[in-house]
Amino acid sequence: MIITCPYCGPRDSSEFVYQGEDGRTRPDPASTDQAAWNAYVYDRVNTAGEHEEIWQHSGGCRAHLRLVRNTLTHKISSVSMARHATVPRRRRKAETPA
């Protein structure tokens, strides 16, 4: 699997560390909402198909990347900087409560 890093160009997936599905937002650290913390730590959508996920280019520029990758075919359709995705991600989370 080749991941095209926005900084470094096409690189082998072994240079990257997988950090799991995107869209999980850590509750406010001051929050004592047990259910929200449990859901954040343990629950996953586990999508079959177009999957939004976070990888870190730990063997390269160390940037955190947001990929859209099809879990049925491993085809990557989009790579962007994870921080650029932050705002729309939170908005989407708010629209569809867990």
């Binding site: 997936s13 997988y18 599905e21 999957h51």
Partner: protein, 419 residues
């Protein structure tokens, strides 16, 4: 259906093998059953078998989207062991071992269970201490475990690099002699035949497309071969758990589906008579009766439903094999493949009633489901028949994650690609 026996084998051999009958029927689905099991893999078939045998519930259908043995039961590396650290796992997997020991006789089907032992190599003194701790925990529960020195290992395993000059020298190992291997396809076929003989309908090439509901309660399933009603619907679909449960409106589970690759080499003369694992990475190998080395390593480490992996893991697995057995460098790889593992958040399975009324869930096997097949089916059948878990699977609930009762054998936390 007739019993298999040495006499039958001989008679068929002498008459040209023309008299063998199919081992199970190919029935059309009936409109309703007492229990419907989704998933005709090892666990689903074992569940059907024990429902019929232990609980007298024979009006059962097993629904399989492909053909029997097309999923993980036909894709694993066949190792059977119970050398875990935590008591919940000890008791469950040791019950599985007890069932394995009599399985061929029980099923009247040779599953070729071979207790050839499983040896975990340690490469640092700290790891050896850790193995001693696990060995003590095992012996405390009455499970056999034996610490071995490199000298003892050298007497039992040929070809292993014990020179001490490698990057990760072998400082010892932990052996479970009652562990071993079984013929994976025979397990699926044996359970299928055993269930079929007791009246269970095994319906292949039938995919679930939705759940029939009466309010919250699940009352049946819709499939590519029509609707099937049942007051009890059991789900045992391993890597497809999230997909099937989403059909029932369960959007999130403590499961990630990830791909695990496995490999088999060309056939060799007998070189390895035990299951052996590398401690400084993730690698395990055994030799089949046909002569091929069956081996694998870690997960690829990302979400996947593709049943195939990528090349970095192929390279890593073979590097680890050659670190252990330099003499195997010229052996050719015959095949490789991938299976989809339902990785749970603590590395332990889920066998439970619910999460909806009328539903039963069996999942979270990570990449260790094959060894659990008999106990999984046995416990799941009990859970379905009695509407409550057996004490052996009572700890393996779905809500344990939210209750802080995780069973994390490896102490890895909620990182499914590292279990």
């Amino acid at each position: 259906m007739r019993e298999y026996s040495a006499y039958m084998l001989l008679r068929n051999a002498l008459t040209g093998n023309r008299d063998w009958k199919p081992a199970w029927r190919k029935p059309d689905p009936k409109p309703s059953y007492d229990v419907v099991i989704i998933g005709g893999g090892g666990h689903g078939l074992a569940t059907a078998y024990y429902l019929a045998k232990e609980h007298g519930i024979t009006n059962v259908a097993v629904i399989e989207k492909g053909y029997l043995g097309s999923g993980n039961v036909g894709r694993n590396t066949t190792a059977v062991r119970s050398n875990y650290l935590l008591p919940e796992n000890h008791r469950f997997y040791e019950h599985s071992m007890d069932l394995w020991e009599n399985l061929s006789h029980d099923l009247n089907y040779n599953v070729m269970f071979s207790q050839r032992g499983c040896l975990n190599l340690a490469h640092t003194p700290a790891q050896f201490d850790d193995y001693a701790r696990r060995g003590n925990a095992l012996r405390h529960e009455g499970i056999d475990a034996e610490l071995m020195t490199p000298t003892q290992i050298a007497r039992e395993v040929r070809g292993l690099d014990l020179s001490g000059s490698q990057r990760f020298p072998v400082v010892g190992g932990l052996m479970q002699r009652s562990a071993g291997t079984a013929r994976h396809d025979a397990v699926a076929w044996g359970y299928a035949r055993g269930a079929d003989r007791r009246g269970v309908d095994i319906i292949e090439n039938c995919e679930v497309t939705g759940f029939l509901r009466d309010g919250d309660r699940v009352t049946g399933i819709s499939t590519t071969r029509g609707e099937i009603r049942a007051p009890k619907v059991a789900v045992a679909v391993a890597g497809s758990t999230s997909r099937v449960m989403q059909l029932a409106g369960i959007e999130r589970l403590p499961i990630e589906s990830q791909v695990l690759q496995a490999f088999v080499s060309e056939s060799l003369k007998p070189v390895l008579d035990t299951v052996i694992t590398f401690g400084m990475g993730h690698f395990y190998v055994a030799q089949s009766d046909k002569g091929g080395l069956i081996y694998g390593g870690a997960l690829d480490g990302y979400n996947s439903y593709a049943q195939r992996g990528s090349l970095p893991l192929v390279e890593e697995v073979h590097a680890e094999m050659l670190a252990m057995f330099p003499g195997l460098a010229s052996v050719r790889v015959l095949r490789s493949w991938g299976g989809i593992c339902d990785m749970s958040m603590d590395g332990s399975p889920i066998i439970t009633t619910g999460p909806l009324p009328g539903m039963y869930l069996n999942c979270g096997w990570c990449y260790g489901g094959f060894k659990a097949t008999p106990a999984s089916g046995w416990c799941f059948a009990h859970t379905i028949a009695r509407d409550e878990p057996h004490p052996l699977n009572a700890p393996f609930t779905l809500d344990r994650f939210h209750r802080g009762m995780v069973i994390d054998d490896k102490g890895q936390g909620a990182t499914p690609n590292l279990h």
